[in-house]
Amino acid sequence: MDALTQTYLLLAVGSLLLGLAAGAVMHRSDYCLAGMFRDLFLFRRVDKLRSLVLLVVVSMLLFECARLFGLLPNYPFPLFYAPSAANVAGGLLFGVGMVLAGGCVVGTLYKMGAGSILSAIAFAGLAVGSAAYAEIFPFWSAFGKRTTFFAGSVTLPQILGVAPTVPILVCAAAGGALVLRWQRQGKFRRTSAVAGDLQPWRAALLLALIGLLSAVIVGLPLGITSSYAKIGGWIERLFLPAHVDQSGFFQAVPLHYRHPLTGVDLAGGSAPRFDALAAIQFPLLVGIVAGSAVSALLLGEWHVRRGIPARQLVSALIGGIFMGLASRMAPTCNLWHLLGGIPILAASSFLFLAGLLPGAWLGGRLLTSFVMPPRAEEGPRRP
């Protein structure tokens, strides 16, 4: 077995195991990143967001420690770019999409693993939207380049021209102070009668650890959306092979990095072919779905429901398409930016978040105005 094959095997097995763990954790805690932002606007609830702050603060410290110990030679992580207006626009569309779909790119996976029809439809929408991006790639790519600022700098410390440790410690200390305050006030505690409940703060810590392991073993933080583009490209290629093969989007190979453990040079893109991104993201995707499915089965909660209102099915599909499109426009998704980018102070991730917030608000407005069924359309009501 040559070194490249060994590296692919390591990436695949590592990602599968991390995916299994993440899927189980997310299902047990119902750790829905989309719900955190949606509920902030719909219900003025911040309890779920607190666990996200905890996750980000812990990830900041773990990533920085790993970097200082030489475990992250590819730092800042590959596939993070200098900030541009595309980050905000992509984040905005992504925010709308994740609320309409009832879950983000990873929430869709763990909910689908537990038997959700709506999430399976959103999954299909993600593949469609990701492939559809190829049609606007030339225009959008040019827009991203035109609106890029601080070219050559990925993180805020790079923009400021300083080493990352001090800015990261300052941000982690500020976030840590909030976390400690909430902990003293008992605000991390969720009372729930649900079987096998995992407290969100525990889920946050476990996901921070999973993110660190991904950065060390794979060389990249958790990311999933290139796999959606590949799936979309594979399906489109069945019908329009020449169109896909000539597409600038599918020809691009944006990922180039040296694997931190084996020293093998790796490359990958959105093209419907096997490469490093396929070796990383498909096992992660399968792992999240399977981990959640096993968790749900063990609890006796795996069920496929029928009779879902048609407008919710349409909403899930449109939301998935929006997310797929947005995750290429941004580029990438909330998982990548919130759990991988913000902990290293990537400027593009803060811009993505700046777009995500109004997007989640707008998505909530659309959801309550057009998607929620009027009383007559609801399921059976038995007096």
Binding site: G35, F43, G102, L118, R190, E301, I308, Q312, V371, M372
Partner: protein, 78 residues
């Protein structure tokens, strides 16, 4: 006491909580007079925490029961 049941299993998030909040508001008088109980069938794990909590902050009591393939959350006058 009359029990009104809402089957919101499998629906999009946060359909369960939005439906529960709306129905609690619609039936607030009957709930306070203890002539009605609202029963929500859901498979949304998050709502097993958020519906009882929302009911409590609105001044109502609740009970959660594990059914065969879902959770039944009953909201009633305290």
């Amino acid at each position: 006491m009359n029990t009104i049941e809402f089957d919101i299993r499998g629906q999009i998030c946060p359909s369960s909580l939005l439906t529960a909040l709306r129905e609690i508001n619609i039936h607030q008088e009957a709930l306070r007079d203890r002539v009605v109980r609202l029963r929500f069938l859901t498979d949304n794990r998050d709502c097993v925490a958020t519906i009882p909590e929302s009911a409590r902050t609105m001044g109502y009591a609740s009970e959660v029961r594990r059914e065969q393939d879902c959770y039944a959350i009953e909201v009633f006058g305290d």
